[in-house]
């Protein structure tokens, strides 16, 4: 071996993955090369340290949590199965088509209803600015969404879940979100904290910091 041993070779040698000839070759090289000997010793220490890391015991609560989720999943599946078997008087194809048609019809009705509610809500937006003793209720439409102000926080309409993550308005993560979703830049008009749903996740953008 005229050049140094490769990292891959040293690692494979450590794991006895080399052939007899390759092993002899690398052992001869290690006998003569201090640099490779040092690298090999370092790698061996790393592996020894890793193998000394204790295995974590799963928390005692894990079993119960898994059981609960599996039970819920089975119940849900049972409902779906019962529903499907209830359609058994029809042939499978017509029942699937019928079900699909029903879902589409329901979706259209819900969409029309939501639009009607939205029109009613936006037509009754009230902005109270100068009466600090009155209950403040504001709504703003920004970034293609409707926000309501509740207890000093702007909350996107329809978002009821607690935010999973909080991001500062001047954080790298929020800026990256604005790059991916340019409409979110409009939220800079809202100085207070904002709770909204982005890509399926409920986030909280913290209040804008006042300029010094």
């Amino acid at each position: 071996m005229s050049t140094h041993a490769t990292t891959e070779r040293l690692s494979a040698y450590l794991d006895r993955q080399l052939s007899t000839a390759e092993t002899r070759e690398i052992e001869d090289h290690l006998a003569d090369c201090a640099l490779c000997r040092r690298q090999f010793a370092g790698m061996r220490n790393v592996v020894a340290s890793l193998r000394q890391l204790e295995r974590m015991a799963p928390p005692p609560t894990l079993g119960g949590l898994v059981t609960r989720r599996v039970t819920f999943e089975n119940r849900r599946k049972g409902l779906v199965d019962r529903f499907e078997s209830g359609l058994g008087i029809f042939d499978r194809q017509s029942s699937i088509l019928g079900l699909f048609g029903l879902i589409v019809a329901l979706a259209v009705i819900m969409l029309l209803f939501a639009q009607a509610v939205d029109r009613q809500r936006t037509s009754s937006i009230s902005v109270i600015l100068h009466d600090p003793t009155a209950a403040r209720e504001e709504s703003r439409e920004l970034a293609g969404r409707l926000f309501h102000r509740e207890s000093g926080v702007w909350v996107e309409a329809g978002v009821e879940a607690e935010p999973e993550h909080a991001l500062a308005a001047d954080s790298q993560e929020w800026r990256a979100l604005e790059e991916g979703h340019p409409e979110l830049v409009e939220l800079r008009e809202l100085a207070d904290a904002v709770i909204l749903r982005v890509e399926g996740d409920v986030l909280r953008r913290e209040a804008l910091r006042a300029a010094p």
């Binding site: 592996v47 340290s49 295995r55 974590m56 799963p58 898994v66 989720r69 599996v70």
Partner: protein, 198 residues
């Protein structure tokens, strides 16, 4: 008897214990899944912990992994071992969750140490020795978190879980040459990280 025939008639089934568990599960035997949980919970939890460096996330991920196992176990065909199949489910899930959530979290290396990840048995050791050993373990754990995911997986499977190269190739669905390369690069990066830390 092949897997397809086995799933048709479990009464005449005779095959590996792994396939037997899968077939029993498919036919609604709850005890089969319980057995799998008992056998593989430590492994699944450890994979989740080493990939996430967080006990809280590890518990969440482990639940989700077992739910996936529950959903898909009926389709296990016995082409691989159940052990490698479960490792694959676990790693795929961790990868998927981490790639989705990394956007909102700090990089793994910047997360606070999860002190409970270092569990040393006292064994009557000198307290100073124990503290030094604990510190060394913490350093190794931290260095592991700094690795790129593909290298971290390979090192975890080899040096923490003790899988053979062939098993790792089966879990990761790559060639053995790739396994060799990833393990080597992971170890070398760890070495450089540890040698450069104070």
């Amino acid at each position: 008897m092949n897997a397809a025939a086995a799933t048709e008639n479990p009464a005449t089934f005779s095959s590996t214990p792994d396939l037997d568990l899968a077939v029993r599960h498919r036919y609604g035997d709850a005890a089969a899944f319980e057995e799998i949980y008992r056998q593989y919970a430590p492994m699944v939890y450890n994979i989740a912990f080493r990939m996430t460096a967080s006990e809280v996330k590890a518990e969440d991920y482990a639940q989700e992994i077992f739910l996936r196992i529950h959903r898909h176990l009926g389709r296990f065909s016995g082409r691989s071992s159940l052990k490698t199949w479960i490792y694959r489910v676990a790693l795929n899930h961790c990868r998927s969750r981490l790639s989705r959530k990394r956007f909102f979290f700090q990089p793994l290396a910047e997360e606070q140490d999860d002190a409970a990840g270092v569990q040393l048995l006292d064994g009557g050791r000198d307290p100073e020795d124990l503290a030094m050993a604990r510190d060394a373990e913490r350093q190794v754990g931290r260095a592991l978190r700094e690795l790129k995911a593909v290298f971290r997986e390979a090192v975890i499977l080899r040096d923490l879980e003790g899988l053979t190269y062939e098993e790792i190739a089966e879990v990761l669905k790559v060639r053995i040459g790739t396994v060799r390369s990833r393990i080597a690069r992971g170890r070398e990066q760890l070495r450089l990280i540890l040698e450069s830390s104070p």
